[in-house]
């Protein structure tokens, strides 16, 4: 069983190992000594109420925040992630809950934001970017046609596919999905689930963040539950029931099938 705190970097070292991560904002410990890890081809659900610290934790991995303490290991080696560019260099791609799209520019410009394709003369190669956008969007959302429009004019589902396209286009090794289906209807949700299975089969490790256990339980191999900034526990989805995980989320009670964290009530 994959456990936390594995020691020397070995062949079976986790893809991501976040150890003893803490961050405080104005005296409030948003994340407090949390350990989570992720293996290649694995989906780890990160669960907890709104405000439990899930999004903050993954923003640390994505380079948006610097932790006050703790370390991040990628493939067993200590990683210095000071900003989003560093994270991307490690193959960490993030789909944010807010989608983080610039509403006033088109899909291709968003897809390549920060990583534009340039012509040999050092100018933006918009045509090449549009071509790549058409290619990747054709896979995700074949009916998508609004390549010339600012993403402001797109529907929730279309915006979501732009955000997903941006994350998967650059050969991510580690994918963070923060409430990826929050803006979607049932059919699109099923599509995202399909996509997650496909990416998992390609050996990509995925952190799936949600406040809703039903979104996560069937897709995840393991779940880690947070409450008030602390880790309640981590469990294989085969070892616990949905009700037990609910108990972890709501009461912070770690069931026998889980490895209890410092946030578990005794």
């Amino acid at each position: 069983m994959a456990t936390q705190g594995s020691t020397s970097p070995t062949a079976s070292a986790p893809l991501v190992d976040m150890r003893d991560i803490s961050i405080a904002f104005g005296g409030i410990r948003a994340v407090d000594g949390v350990n989570v890890d992720l293996y290649p081809g694995e989906v780890v659900g990160l669960l907890g109420h709104n405000g439990a610290g899930k999004s903050t934790l993954i923003k640390i991995l994505a380079g948006a925040y610097r932790p006050d303490s703790g370390e991040i290991r990628i493939n067993g080696e200590k990683a210095e992630i000071g900003n989003p560019r560093d994270a991307k260099r490690y193959g960490i791609e993030t789909i944010y809950q807010t989608l983080a799209l610039a509403d006033n520019v088109d899909a291709a410009a968003n897809l390549f934001l920060g990583r534009e394709i340039m012509t040999p003369w050092g100018t933006l190669d918009d045509v090449a970017m549009e071509a790549a956008a058409r290619e990747v969007m054709g896979r995700l959302n074949p009916n998508f046609r609004k390549f010339k429009e600012p993403v402001r004019g797109l529907s929730g589902g279309q915006r979501q596919s732009v955000a997903i396209a941006r994350a998967i286009h650059f050969n991510a090794k580690i994918l963070i999905m923060d409430e990826p289906t929050a803006a979607l209807g049932p059919q699109e949700t099923a599509q995202v689930a399909e996509l997650i299975k496909q990416l998992k089969a390609e050996g990509i490790g995925i952190f799936l963040i949600s406040h809703d256990i039903h979104d996560v339980f069937d897709l995840a191999d393991r779940v880690s539950v947070m409450k008030n900034g602390k880790l309640v526990g981590t469990a294989r989805t085969t070892d616990v029931t949905k009700d037990e995980v609910l108990g972890m989320i709501i009461m912070g009670k770690s069931p026998p099938g889980a490895i209890a964290g410092p946030g578990a009530v005794h």
Partner: protein, 441 residues
Amino acid sequence: MSQSTSHSTIAPAPARPASPPQAPAPSLIGALELDVRFLGMVGALAVIWIVFDFLADGTFLTPRNLWNLSVQTASIAVMSTGMVLVIVMRHIDLSVGSILGVTGMIMAVFQASTLMPTFGFNHPAVVVLTLVSGVAIGALIGTLHGFVIAYLGVPAFIVTLGGLLVWRGAAWAVAEGKTIPLVDDHFKLLGGGADGSIGAFWSWVVAAMACIVIVLATVQARRQRQRFRFPLKPVWAELVTAGAGCLAVIAATLVVNAYTLPAALARRYAEANGLTVPPEGLAISFGFAVPVLVALAIGVIMTFVTTRTRFGRYVFAIGGNPEAAELAGINTKRVTLMVFALMGALAAIGAAISTARLNSATNAQGTLDELYVIAAAVIGGTSLAGGAGTVAGAMLGALVMQSLQSGMVLMRVDTPYQNIVVGIVLVVAVWVDTLYRKRFK
């Protein structure tokens, strides 16, 4: 807007050659891919011109007035191209008038006290070094503003409000309030006038080059889209847009070439150049004024910067969603600093034009220019909410502002009343723009 979802799975389709999806039912404007707001502004400008021509007894739409209008607009137009970027990034720059004042003053003093004595009268190095030093100082001032805004986190409104006072005071301090006359004749060409114009022949050369560039750009854009088999504009639409652009260039050239030197000046010019004056008089055209060409060149460069470079893309992305830009790995602070540095450099170019036009630098030069520049950008469709605006629109906005003032001068409206009208027009223009945005976006 309906969500367009598919019933197929997400499984990767084989990389089929992207078949060009059918364009939606083509409307005239849609087929031409025209910017409706820009067209609206051109229409508004036409209305203003015609109304003023009517009210001012046919004195507005004369080659002489239109030529003057172009020269008067140049300095504000140059600065408005930078203000677009500042406002797109959700900032403001209230200090451009004062930066214009201090850099103009420094250029005049530097030229008279150091460059002239060193290089001699009308040495070409004088104009070059004057400009380089002025632009460098303008950029430095802008960099300082940008640093305080981006890295120390003081709002741009406050930093540049402080800058407005500081640099106006500095403009006085440079020469203790004295007016400094310009000494270099080459530098004075930047102000326009009979000498600072390129004449009929070179105006046609410029026009021909502009038309060639328009045609080549159209062909190039079409080729690019063909390369990836994207949907293309109909050929007639390409011809109409490129043709309209060339016609506008030719019309402008005809106008500036129709403005000729007054008889007395023409005779002096003929004598100086050893020409014989024919009995019916000599028609020597002004042609395009140098400051106008400078402004147009800056307009082209700034349009290129905003639409074709990474820097321009980032400015717009930051304006649209600063957090998203940051998360995408854009160094938003550095971009902010660069935008203000650019604004400072453009204010210095504006200073060169306006001091050259007056043949001297005064410590009050550029007073209230910041407001005209901001108004030009906003009338030109730059959204104060950030993320939207074009360089061409801002320059057109500058022309609208200057047209109003010039028209009222011809109608002999007193300055206080001019201000009342300009103020009202600004508010109404932004209100109309707000309605447009609500309706179409």
